[in-house]
Each structure stands twice: as structure tokens, then as C-alpha cells.
Symmetry: C2
Subunit: 285 residues, 2 copies
């Protein structure tokens, strides 16, 4: 999906947040903002918002020397999510529509995205959000596709969300089915890496794989050949979150996008309202 | 007041709004955003947020050829304010503390700033806002200064606000006192110009004067010598709004700043909370 003009002020705000998380040195924060503005001016060189976000957050890392500015925030989110895990399991166990509920739990994990919700009271929010139904849920199509699927790939998003995705992976497990769970190749904002995914304990439910990319999304050209082969060969791909949607909506293969629409532009593309949850099948981009 | 890093994403958002107001040509909007980002990267060259805003909105004018993108918005705000005028007069007439109430009416006019409140229901908002007391009001000091003041200068802010300022100017009128009301020298965002002030009918209450500047504030170096002389010679200066505060808080002369704190940074400098109303005397910057 192309980079919208509306993404620019939003990324500008995000890089200021990241700069302040990475360093208390105000001169360094100012240098980061100046370099970020120059990158924002090169808008036309970037194919999507995640591609530009990758470049901008690289500035934060280079200027501060901090490889993973969000490390402690991710750990906080992971710990908060792990505390919620019994509640999530109970919510899923109580359901008479287990796959839909597991999908909804995984989609709700998307609110753990502290890159957007900086001061969220996560526990209170999750309980309320779990009860909200999908605005759109292509469950019939997914169930049909899963019936014959041997290889299922789930593309993770932010770190705390991984705990929620364990509920989905448990619901997707079936005899002889290979489940893979992909995360970012390097730290980027609060997105999950291999370390974060292991900390969440997701390796007990699926084969963990790195996409190889440090974009906050899945930009296939910057992924490893191993990941691209996994992506191509999977019978079903379920992609979590906005960043993966923005970078894969024109991937050329059928996919399911599972996410909460956090801004008006994404909601417009999904055909939902802002704040809505959706599971949407896209045949080709 | 220096330009804060937090002002950059906010100005980025404002220039996108201005670009879309000025033209429906998306390629032109994109050119404006690219040029604006380059200007945002030159942060250190600008002494204050109004100075940078002036440069950024100049890009909108040059790229679109539209000299006054907010003309119709200003007219809409002025008409809305004129409709409210009887209500404002009655509110002032009912008061047993006329100067404080007139100051409060003028400060409340600050919510007519559609550059920040894009979709405001102005009539409903004003009625509620009028009832909110000042968080800080240096009325004793102002009353003492006014007792001997022969020349009083009020620095206007946005266009719709001018109608509210008529109530203040009426309260400031006294035998032999010269009242002046200053507006921007050229159109900038939704700030009042001479045409806007005349449309509001303020010339019946005070001598109208242009500052000569096209910044959304009062940057003395870019004002006319005539205005600077008026500013220096006035016994009392009452400055309206954030833009004037940001550009004049270090002016070197005693002044009164009358405004609503619309963002955390300004509120921090005023010692108030966001959304608070204040009349604050500053001796020197």
C-alpha cells in the first residue's frame, strides 16, 4: 500500500517519541528530528509507510547508538500480556465458536501496540476490547481454506501481541499441520523479534522464523530467501497488524489480514470504521 | 520563545491541512509536504514556532498560487462569531466584574481558532467556555496599569476572535485614552488581517493597525517601524493567543498575555493546565 501524506506527521510524532525513549540528550533528539525531517521529505522514494518508518527509526539507532530503544517497553508489554494470559485462555475456552474467538483474541492483542497507544491502561482496555465483535470476519473462507491446509504461516506484529497469538496458534493446531510464526529480523519500534517471541513462549506452539527484515512490516524484497519461500509455499497466511497489511496488501498471493484499524486511512482501505476489528481475505493485491 | 521539537509534528499536520484547504491537486499537496519537510529540517534557523509556521505556509501559497487559503474559513468563523455577538454582549452586561468578564470573553474568542479545532461546534463550545473562570488572572496588576494608561494596544489573533475582542475594547474605552488594535500584515492561516477586522466591525472601537508581518504571531523584526513605535510607546499592551505569546514572550517590555493554553508546551510555560484560560503579566522576557 502506498505511503499516504497523512502518514508523514504521524511518523514525525513517532520519531520524536522514539528519540526521547532512546536518549535524554536534547541535542541528540534535535539531530534525530532534523535528519528524520530530511527523510520525510524523500517521501516519493518509499513504497510504503513501513519502508519509511524503517529508515526513520534507523536514524534513532545510529544517532543514539541504542540498538533496541523499545527493549524495556517491549519487556513491559510482554510481562503485562503474560499476566493477562490466563484471562485470554479462559475467554477462549468459554467460547462456542472457538476459531472465531481465538482470532478475536489475537486481533485484540493489537492494542498492545504502545507505539500508538502510549499511555494505555492495557488490562482494563483488553477486557473491554475482547468483548467487541469483528466488524468483518471472513471466517467461512478461512475455515474452508484451513480444512485442507498443511502449512499455515502467521505473521506476528508487536511484542506484547505475541502472547495473544498463542491462543490463535493453539486453535490452528491440527494433526500433521506445520505452523510457523514469523517475527522481525531486527528490533524495530515495539515489534516482536525472535527473543521477544521466545520470551512469550510462542515456540511451544509453532516454528519460530525471522523474516530477516527490520521494517515494521513485511517488505518481501528485504526478507530472507528462506522466509520468502515459506511465505510462497504456505497454504494459509494470516497477517497481523497494520504494518504487515501496509507492506503485503499487494503481495500477489491470497492472504488473511487480521487487525484492528487504528487510523482512518487503514480503516478506509479495509472498509471498516476506525477502531474496528477485521479478518479480511484478500485474493491478490 | 524557542521552537520546541514537539512543534514540528504539529506543524507538519497543519501544513497538510493547509495544503488540502488550498488545493484538491494531490500532486501539488505532495510537493508542498516535501518542501515543508525540508523546512522542518531547518529547525535551528528559526527563532520561534511562528517564524517557522510563516515559512511553511508561504510554501502553500507559492505552490498553489492561493494568496489566502483560509479566506472562506475565516469568513465562516467571522459570520459565526457575529451571530454570537448578542450573546457575548449580554454575558458581559450581566457581569458585576465587567473588566474581568470582558477579558474572559476576549480570551474565549481564542477557541475560534479553526487551525487547531477543525471540526468545532463553535456555538455550543463558546457557551460552555464562557462559564469557565480564568486559571490565572493578573487583574489587579492590569487594573492598576490601566488607571494611568493613555495608550493601550491590543494584539489580535485569529479572525473570528476579533468579534469577541470588541467586548474587551468597549470595556477598555476611557476618556482621552487611545485604543489601538493590531492585526497581521498579510493573510496567514486563519489570523485576522485588516479586512477581517473591518468585517468584524472592530474599527468602531479602536484604531486599526497592521503589524506588517505575515507570521502567525508578532515577530518584531519583521514588523513595520510604525508598528514597533506603537508597541514601544503603549502604556499597556494586551497580547492575544499562543502565536503572539510565542513570539513576544521575550520582547523586553512589560506585557499582558491573554490566551487559552491549547497545548502542553504553552501550558507549561504559563504554569497552567492544557485548556486553561489565563491573563498573565510578564515584566520582561
Amino acid at each position: 500500500m502506498e505511503l499516504f501524506l497523512d502518514c508523514l506527521p504521524c511518523m514525525h510524532r513517532q520519531v520524536l517519541e522514539a528519540a526521547r525513549i532512546a536518549t535524554t540528550d536534547e541535542a541528540c533528539q534535535a539531530r534525530i528530528l532534523d535528519r528524520a525531517a530530511l527523510t520525510l521529505a524523500r517521501r516519493s522514494e518509499f513504497a510504503s509507510a513501513p519502508a519509511m518508518a524503517q529508515a526513520i527509526h534507523e536514524i534513532v539507532r545510529v544517532e543514539t547508538g541504542v540498538a533496541d530503544p523499545y527493549a524495556s517497553i517491549k519487556r513491559r508489554d510482554l510481562d503485562a500480556a503474560l499476566t493477562l494470559e490466563p484471562l485470554l485462555r479462559q475467554f477462549a475456552a468459554d467460547s462456542d465458536d472457538p476459531l472465531r474467538t481465538a482470532l478475536k483474541v489475537a486481533a485484540t492483542g493489537n492494542v498492545m501496540d504502545s507505539a500508538i497507544y502510549s499511555d494505555l491502561d492495557i488490562a482494563a482496555c483488553v477486557t473491554e476490547e475482547l468483548r467487541r465483535p469483528f466488524a468483518r470476519c471472513d471466517l467461512t473462507e478461512l475455515s474452508a481454506d484451513l480444512a485442507s491446509a498443511r502449512r499455515v504461516l502467521v505473521l506476528g506484529d508487536n511484542a506484547g501481541e505475541v502472547v495473544f497469538d498463542k491462543i490463535l496458534l493453539a486453535a490452528l493446531a491440527a494433526d500433521g499441520r506445520e505452523l510457523s510464526y514469523a517475527v522481525r529480523g531486527e528490533p524495530i519500534i515495539n515489534d516482536a523479534t525472535l527473543d521477544d517471541a521466545r520470551y512469550a513462549g510462542v515456540d511451544a506452539y509453532a516454528s519460530l522464523v525471522s523474516s530477516g527484515s527490520s521494517a515494521p512490516g513485511t517488505i518481501l524484497e528485504s526478507c530472507t530467501e528462506e522466509f520468502r519461500e515459506l511465505f510462497r509455499a504456505a497454504d494459509v497466511v494470516i497477517s497481523k497488524g497494520q504494518g504487515n497489511f501496509e507492506s503485503l496488501s499487494a503481495s500477489g498471493r491470497p492472504m488473511y489480514f487480521l487487525l484492528k484499524a487504528k487510523c482512518a486511512l487503514i480503516a478506509g482501505r479495509l472498509g471498516t470504521a476506525v477502531g474496528d476489528y477485521a479478518l479480511i481475505r484478500r485474493d491478490v493485491g
